[in-house]
Structures are given as structure tokens and as C-alpha cells.
Amino acid sequence: MKKQAQHIVPPAERANLDLDSGKYLVMWQGPNHPGITGNMSLRLVIEGDTVVDCETHVGYLHRGFEKLMERRLWMQNFPLVCRIAVPEPDFNEYCYAAALEELAGIQIPDKAVWLRTLSLEMIRLASFLMWIGGQAGAFGHGTIGQWTVTMRDYVLDLFEELTGGRIYHMFIIPGGVRGDVPPGFLKHVLETMDIIQKNLDDVELVMFHNVVYKMRAQGLGYIPPDWIDHYGITGPNARAAGVTRDLRKDLGYLAYPRLDFQPITGTVSDAYERSRLRLAEMYQSIDLIRQIVANMPSDGPFREKLPNPLYWKIPAGETYVAAECTRGEYGFYVVSDGSDKPRRVAVRGPSYTHAVSVMERLVRGVNIADVAGLMVSLHTYPPEVER
């Protein structure tokens, strides 16, 4: 029964296939497929059960955000940016706000720094909770998803309490945040963390000590370390390969320099290792959230006054602000020409390479039944590819 995980590196070049030979079948997986992380599709070429070629097709969620932003006032983009990555909108809010603050020379109050950090760690946890349900589900283990999506809802309850919204929190506004914590909120946070931690223990037991999961995930989607820079791979996908890179540590933004944590790394970046690493990062998030609650100042202003949003002009300049999201480097490149609207906003989502270049190569030689599991193991969000 023991299976030695094999670390096969798929070829760099696409095979030259004669699709008319009758040997191959072209099959579309998605855009509406339970194993697809959101609306995107893979054009697979299969030979028997084996995928021999793949093209990622995106565009099903394209709403032209970057174009839309160019004709909206700086502040009007605040409710728009969160939509670029639905399961974790807060990273958009943070990167956009931080970029504007940097260009406009605004210092935000310490309370806002902590509340932003709290909000980012809470959404990291929520996003991972949703992801792990998808990862287990892709291998037929739907129970995990039922548990963890509930846990995610508990985090969303917290967001609802803090920000007034469950999915789109619209909390991290340029200049700070939109409100202080409501009474009793921090207690709710700690209680919820206890519940989630207990559930994660159960998840760890039944998912990671599971022969089916191990057999299917180990060795699947192996990313060799030399791919990391070549493909611009970031986040858990890179860390699982032993590359110690975590922007929370490297860039030291928000309150992270004041929190006690170490980047988590793995040794062999396959689907199993990556999921173990993300599970560890969920525990880490819970720990960070507890640290934030313990260290956050109880009072003080939570927002710096800004000029009238109807006429707010930002001095000409450009900057790139990045943050470590659940999937890696999430960044906003913002260019101002000195007017009241952005000249250019470009969003860098980690899935841009994970879901396209990396996925297309990794899938070569994979059994068709494993495509969904492989894709989820890369943790890709199509909206951040398309923007």
C-alpha cells in the first residue's frame, strides 16, 4: 500500500500534438465545474486518463476594474477594489489605501495600523478555511468543507460586527479605517478563535491523517525550487518548496514587525505539503489574531483626516505596494498624474502566474481526476488574473 511520492517535473515545452490523429480528446473543464476555483476554464488535451496539454482560459469574470478606476475619483475606487479578489477583499483595500497614503504623504494613526492588521489576518484565516474545504472536496472529502465553511462564516460574523459587511468589508479606507471596534468585539474574536482552533484540530486529524488524501495529494503538482523565481511563484506555493519568503516579514508592513511569528516553510512543494503548510498558517493566523487583540491600543484615533473626497488630488508619482495574501504577493501599482483620478492602477495577483503559466505546465502528465485537486492546491482566484 505504501506509495513513494514521485516528484516528476513536467516538460517546459508544450508537446506538438496532432489533435486530428484520434489519439487525443480535447476537453474543457469549466468555466462551471465544481473542481474549478471560481469561473475559469482549462482546455485540456487528454490521452486516455492523462492530461498531455492544458491552456488556461480566463475572462469570465473580467469587469475591467483597472479601466473603471481611471474614471473614478480616488475615494470612489475604495468600494471598487475589494471586488478584485472576492474571498479576501481586504488585501485590495489595504494595498490601495496604503499606495494612496504613500503618494499623498499621509501617516495613519496607530490604531488604524492594528485594526488593519487584524482585518488582514482575519480574512487570511477565512480565506484559508474556504480553501481547505475546496481542497478536501476536490478529492471527494466533502465533510471538511462543511465544517470549515461554517468556521469561515464565524469569521464573517466577526467582520459583520466590525465592519457592517460580510463579504465586502470596505473597512480599510484611505486614511485609516472606518470605525473602532464595537463593544465586546475583541472578546468575540477570541471566543471564535478558540472554536476555530478546535475545529482545525479535527480537520488535521481526519484530513491529513487520511490514506486517501495522502495517496492522491502526495507527489501531485510538484514545484521544483528553481521554478520559484522563474515563474514568480510566491506565498505558500513557494514556501512549501523551502523558500523562506513572506512579505509580512520581508516588507514589515503594518503591525507585523511588532508581532512574534516566523515564516513557515516546507521541503517539497507538492499538493500535500502545500496544504499542510496552509493548515499551519491557519494556526499561525489564529496566534497572530490573539497577539493583535492583546497588543492593540484601546483608544486613539482610527483615521487621519483627508481632503474633501470629491476633489482629492494626489501628487503625481507612482508606487507599488504589496502585501502577503493567502496566495502570496498581492500588490497594487498606482500611478497618479496629479489629478483627482488615478492615471493607472495595476493589480498584481499571485494567481496570475499560479493559475496560468504554472498550472499549464504542472498539469501535463496528471491524471484527469487530479486536475481539480491540483488546481486547488495552487490556491488560485481567477478574478485577480482578469481584474
Binding site: V58, G59, H62, G64, E66, K67, L68, E70, R71, E102, W227, D229, H230, Y231, G232, T244, R245, D250, L251, G252, G317, E318, T319, Y320, A322, E329, G331, Y333, V335, R343, R344, A346, R348, Y352, T353, V356, S357, V358, R361, V385, E386
Partner: protein, 181 residues
Amino acid sequence: MIKLATELAARYGSRGWHNQRPDLASVQIDLSRLHDALAWLKDNMGYTHLSFMTAIDNIERGVFTLTYTLRNHAWNDGKGHSLMIHADVDRSKPEVDSIHRLWGQAWTYQREMKEWYGIDFPGSPRVDEEFVLEGWEGPPMMRRDFDSLAYSDATYAERPGRVSHDPETYMKEKLYPEAEA
């Protein structure tokens, strides 16, 4: 940093080095030396990570300004340094050397820029394929001269029954309609 700025200028004629933050700088390079400069930064100077690449339509100057953001992870004790390389390309004939052999994901960016700006990267894989705009027949949509609102007005119907009033005009109508324009 000063050393890198000087050396980049000496080797590739870069100019306008600007330190935006201690860990972020930008610099301008001529299009013809862009590819070599990027390769040198990647292979020799530790800027191994391509964060993203994109373009800005500087229509007033008649150019697209390309932005390549590279990251040197090792710099400053592993804290890293990002460098934004800018190069202007003539808007009327936008053609740029492809860097798909330098970075494995670059071809997707180049395909995006072909679709969104009409900037060509000869030799880049699948550069002419549609990226996100399936069935798009309009001009490259990220160009400044593409008016998305006008397009939307022309393409989609307004929901009927929507009409708004400007307070100043409305009050004039109601309170002092006789006043001169």
C-alpha cells in the same frame, strides 16, 4: 543602491533614478536596451523575481510607458528591494522585445498588453490570442482614448425610469424661473 544606479546608467544608459521608498526605486531605460538591462539585473544583480509588468498610456506624450517591477529578495539581509524599470515605446508603432525567455510567466503579461494596449511582443507565445476579452471588437480597451462610458452608453440600455435632478437647477425652476440665464 547608488552603486546599482550608477552601474545601470553606465552599462545601459538608464536615467532618472528615483528612490520612492528605501525598498522601492524606479528608473528609466531606452527601449532598445531594455531587454539586456533586465537580463543583466536578473542574472547578475539578484533581481530574479518579476513581480509584474504593465503599461501606462501616456497619450499626451505619444508613448506607452512600460513598467517592469523586479525584486531582489536577498537585498538588505533578505528584506528585499524592488526596482521599477520604465521604458517608453512609441504609441503609433508599439513593439517591444519579448522577455518570455527570462521569466516563465512573462508571456501572459505580454499577451495581456497586446490585448489591452495593442503593444506587440514579437515572438512571445500566443501573444495574439484573446486573453480576457473574448469576442472584443473595440479598440484596445486600456488605451486612454477608449472611452468606456461612451462605449457602455452605446452598447447597453439604461434602466428606464431613472432621472436625476441637480439641486441648483431644480431650485431655480421652482423658485426663480424668471431669472436671466
